[in-house]
Amino acid sequence: MSAALTLAPPVSRRLKSLAAILILLALWEVAARLFVPGVNPIIPPPSVLVTYVARHAGLLLISVQPTIVAAISGFCIGASISIVLAVIFVRFPTVEAALANSVVLLHALPMLAIIPLLVIWFGIGYTPKIIIAALATFFPVLNGALRGLRSSERSTLELMHILDAHWLQTLTKVKIPFALPYIFAGLKIAAPQAVLGATVAEWIGSRSGLGSQILIALLNYDVPLLWACMVACALLAATGFCLILLIEYLVIGRRSEPLREED
């Protein structure tokens, strides 16, 4: 699992994973052609799916832009707030004790119920979907950052004490670097969530973007457009994940012996 999520898996593993995807696509193709025939099938085989996407390429390129803007803004806002909050929690345990339950409550709120409220408060447009993307990002990153900031070795913290380091020095030179892998683990979960959050918010909170396009397709019973939007949404979420993976690699680099290939 963890090996599959690193940036550069060994060549043979990459080949295996590619082969598995090709086999799945082939099975899907055969099954769809056998059981769901027709001109615009509601479950298209991959070959037809490609034509769906191609047919709506222009529309998708336009719809995707507001979604990307909302997802990235919400992601950055949510991630920044949660990292700052995690630092405050670790520095002032009383604040954490006071706010921890509220944070869990916030996480337990159903997003679908918040969106209409946000629309009433802020009107239709970017604000509701940015807030939803930020909320989707907030919890996994806070969780990762909190665990990470507490992951420094005890003796390293004692060394900082002996050196009479200021807490800000301990934070920037020890705690945050040790927390980075945990923060990135949270960011990797959060990036696709931010895309999905923005898309869902667009159902009712926006007149532009992939989400509202999905709603239009549903109301018009436009199956090919629905599928095309779904593909675009999945690609967007996957791109977000891969982008974080790349940034993680660039920021953290190599801290331990590289994993050897198992076979």
């Binding site: 070795e153 003796s155 002996i162 030179k173 670097p177 190599r254």
Partner: protein, 261 residues
């Protein structure tokens, strides 16, 4: 004993955990001369590390007083005159050897430490000149501890606290590092306190050995090590060395033997 560096007077330490009270250290008195190398030896978990941690201001005594150069460990710590080496090297894995040794300088602010050593000299001293840009994962366990020693010395501290620094290493590596550490100690001229549970290590390294009892730890015997300096690996095969090992062992195991009888 001309010039006294470290003094402990009637030092006791009790840890309170809810209703439990654990007496870790009981009435320890000792005085360590400037530039002396002493070893604290005792059964594991006896509280010898607690004594060392009080010197490093990582714990405070429940009763009694601890002074280094006439002031409290907290004061010495604020002057950044304590160097400590832990059992694990605890290097920062994203920093090179050079940058790990530079960490204390960064924290103190370079201008604030006129007595600071040059990192390149320290690399030479611990024999890691060719590894200055290596990352910790590329080093062996022994090399990592060498980096930790260099890091402990970079601010030119008054005392060097060694908490079983080579305890996790194999005996051959450990022996080599001990001899090298003695060379470094001679060159730097620093008061050193070593916590260990190896009798031969204590004899090889120190001027005096303080033998501690099982918990609550107190000093039962002080053994002056009469071996000449500089110490060499060969001395470990001399009859005088074996005699000292036997005497230390006798003092160390006495509490257990009377208990069994």
């Amino acid at each position: 004993m001309s010039d006294v560096s470290i003094v402990l007077e009637g030092v006791s330490k009790t840890f309170v955990d809810g209703a439990n009270r654990v007496h870790a250290v009981e009435r320890v008195d000792l005085a360590i001369a400037r530039g002396e190398f002493v070893a604290l030896i005792g059964p594991s978990g006896c509280g010898k590390s607690t004594v060392l941690r009080m010197l490093g201001d990582l714990e405070s005594p429940s009763t009694g007083s601890v002074t280094i150069d006439g002031v409290s460990p907290g004061e010495i710590r604020k002057r950044r005159q304590i160097g400590m080496v832990f059992q694990e090297a605890n290097l920062l894995p994203w920093r090179s050897v050079y940058d790990n040794i530079a960490l204390p300088l960064e924290i103190a602010g370079k201008s604030a430490v006129p007595g600071a050593r040059s990192i390149d000299d320290l690399l030479e001293l611990v024999g890691l000149k060719d590894f200055r840009d290596a990352l910790p994962w590329q080093l062996s366990g022994g090399m990592r501890q060498r980096v930790a020693i260099a890091r402990a010395l970079v601010l030119n501290p008054k005392v060097l606290l060694l908490d079983e620094p080579f305890g996790a290493l194999d005996e051959i590596t450990r022996n080599r590092l001990n001899i090298d550490l003695l060379k470094i100690w001679t060159e730097v001229g620093i008061t050193a306190v070593l916590v260990t549970h190896s009798i031969s290590e204590a004899v090889l390294m120190s001027d005096r050995i303080f033998v501690m009892s099982p918990r609550p730890a107190t000093i039962t015997t002080t053994i002056p090590v009469t071996l000449p300096r500089p110490r060499t690996a060969q001395m470990q095969r001399a009859p005088e060395f074996f005699d000292l090992v036997a005497r230390t062992g006798e003092a160390l195991y006495r509490p257990f033997e009377t208990e069994a009888a």
